[in-house]
């Protein structure tokens, strides 16, 4: 592991050519606010900076360099053409406070994306404003609350969440002031419908479901679930995390859902990772349309215009200064337009085909699927509980060994209810050759587990760092770098 850039710092060395001009100009900052000591910055040449960060970047593990089957996260390829279009000058230099008549191009794209999302979700209204999936969830449950409250139905204080849910679901429900009621999953991966019937009642504000679920299976009782919740006056929230699995095949609106968020990075291939920027549009059924967060793009005879609280008085309001992350909205729109209706269906078909192909290969090679009787949707789970028992090899060891072979590890130990699990999502953008290579490597690792388990126990062997001490990292978190500059020593 190479050192930090401070390790090559030398007092007095700098790259003046790159310095911003005008920094010494007169300013009005009061003297007591000016710093007295030199800021702690590395003193390095331009070439040293370039070399240091280029070398660091070469240690990156990314979708541009390697297969990244991180289940539940959908690490799929982001087409370059879409980035190029979002970088058109008219978009890039457009100010969010421009007048409506000077914003028609961007607003047209946003309006059309709203319309496209309505069609693919089977919903009646869409707002693009949530800045990411988590904010979309918050907006969605806030709308559920607004709906009940407007009807004077204020005794509903429970949101039902399956035990297989993304952690954000119970967190969102709690954030919106609801009590979280957990329901179990049956051995087939479906929600336990009997348990649901017992729990659903006059206190139920709604249920939050991901379908296909985080277990990688489509809940076959979805209509029954919708009927149960609606019959007690609750609403259904669809966590759109796995929408890519069903795009163009079945629509949340038709399944009976009332509100959902869409993770644009997962389904519409906007950039993902590094903490954003994100996009988490919400889509709603007829009865929740008045509550959509603003701004929304409306269409009039004279062109597109912003709809705000003035036009939508029952809206839950704004979630940020402007409407979402403009660049992400544009990319999602262009991706949708590039694919067209027929292409969208292909996303779901290839995501599902790739997952089932890989699942079948791994099953035949001796791995244990968590739900052997079920077809996979876009992702699937294998459990290494037998390997853990017989070979004393756990999911972490296999994940770390995969890194040695140049594959990103799948999601591990999630969902929590499957012991020693790996959640594998190949996505629709991978070729058969890549899937074959991954399967071959998994088979090889299983063989190593039998013949030379130490290879797995001590993996990774070929990365810049070896096995990390996770307990120490969690217990003694140290994020502040406070260097002693070599020149000071």
């Amino acid at each position: 592991m190479s050192g930090t850039i401070f390790d090559i710092s030398k007092s007095g060395r700098s790259a003046k050519a790159q310095m911003p001009k005008g920094v010494n100009e007169k300013h009005n900052i009061p003297k007591n606010y000016l710093r007295k000591d030199k800021p702690l910055l590395p003193e390095v040449s331009e070439l040293q900076v370039v070399r240091h960060y280029t070398n660091l970047s070469r240690k990156n593990f990314s979708i541009d360099t390697q297969f990244y089957p991180l289940g539940s996260c959908t690490m799929k390829y982001n087409p370059r053409g879409v980035h190029r279009l979002a970088f058109l000058e008219g978009f890039l230099n457009h100010h969010p406070l421009s007048l409506d008549e000077n914003s028609q191009g961007f607003m047209a794209c946003a309006y059309e994306l709203q319309e496209i999302l309505k069609v693919v979700t089977g919903m009646r209204g869409v707002s693009l404003t949530p800045m990411a999936g988590a904010q979309g969830e918050f907006a969605g449950v806030a709308m559920i609350r607004a709906y009940h409250e407007l009807r004077g139905d204020t005794l509903r204080d429970e949101i039902i969440v399956p035990d297989a849910a993304h952690g954000t679901n119970p967190a969102t429900a709690a954030q919106c002031g609801y009590k979280v009621i957990e329901i179990p999953t049956g051995p087939d991966g479906n929600v336990d419908i009997e348990a649901l019937r017992k729990i659903a009642g006059p206190k139920t504000a709604g249920i939050m479901l991901t379908n296909p679920s985080t277990l990688g299976v489509f809940d076959q009782n979805i209509q029954e679930i919708a009927k149960t919740i609606h019959s007690v006056g609750g609403l259904l929230y669809y966590d759109g995390a796995n929408l890519n699995a069903i795009l163009g095949k079945v629509r949340p609106g038709d399944m009976g859902f009332d509100v959902m968020h869409i993770n644009l990075h997962k389904t519409f291939a906007t950039p993902h990772g590094g903490g954003g920027p994100g996009g988490g549009p919400v889509a709603v059924s007829e009865r929740l349309v008045p509550f959509l967060p603003t701004p929304i793009v409306g269409k009039t005879e004279t062109g597109f215009r912003w709809l705000t609280k003035e036009q939508c008085p029952q809206s839950i309001g704004r979630l940020s200064a402007f409407m979402g992350n403009a660049g992400i909205i544009l990319r999602a729109y262009m991706y949708a337009r590039l694919l067209g209706q027929e292409g969208m269906i292909r996303i779901a078909e290839y995501a599902t085909l790739n997952a089932n192909y890989l699942l079948t290969k791994l099953r035949k090679a001796g791995f244990t699927p968590a739900y052997p009787k079920r077809l996979a949707s876009h992702e699937f789970i294998i459990t290494l509980k037998n390997e853990a028992r017989d070979l004393h090899i756990n999911a972490l060891d296999v994940a770390k060994r995969l890194l040695d072979y140049g594959f990103h590890a799948p999601t591990m130990y999630f969902p929590l209810l499957v012991p020693e699990c790996l959640l594998i999502e190949p996505t629709e953008t991978e070729s058969k050759e890549v899937l074959d290579a991954f399967a071959d490597t998994m088979i090889k690792i299983l063989e190593e587990a039998k013949t030379n388990p130490e290879l797995l126990k001590n993996a990774p062997h070929h990365l810049p760092v070896r096995r990390l001490d996770e307990v120490k990292a969690a217990r003694e978190l140290d994020l502040v770098y406070n260097p002693q500059l070599p020149s000071d020593v």
Partner: protein, 130 residues
């Protein structure tokens, strides 16, 4: 094989209960600590707080997951194992001994019929490994 001592009582949510005179000592089972993996953080209840049966009363966090601890029997907390705050891995090393979480004075005396015995808990653990 997971260790399930015969003389303890268990909850379906993987807490164990031991009766010491009029106070109950509570911890998490060997099975639970194995499933969670290396523990890194423990949040314990305040002494003198009362909890209902099944109410969340503590939180433990491992490198893999965070989990709520449910009060197996309603009662008032009389003592918590402060050593865990500094060194949560004691639970991994000795779940039935030094890794105890808290002691409580139960609100009702006849609690054993609400808990599982070792055989019942063993069956439950086996059925969970589907």
């Amino acid at each position: 094989m997971t260790n399930i001592p015969k003389k303890l009582f268990y909850s379906a949510t993987h807490e164990w209960v031991r009766k010491d005179e009029d106070v109950l000592t509570i911890g998490i089972t060997d099975h639970a600590q194995t499933m969670l993996g290396d523990l890194v953080y423990v949040e314990l209840p305040e002494p003198e707080t009362g909890f209902e049966t099944g109410q969340e009363c503590a939180v433990i966090e491992s490198v893999k997951a965070a989990a709520d601890i449910y009060c197996p029997i309603s009662g008032e907390i009389v003592e918590v194992n402060e050593e865990l705050l500094q060194n949560p891995q004691v639970i991994n090393q000795d779940p039935y001994g030094k890794g105890w979480l808290f002691r409580l004075r139960p609100f009702e005396n006849d609690f054993t019929n609400k808990l599982l015995n070792a055989d019942q808990y063993t069956k439950q653990v086996a059925s969970e490994a589907h």
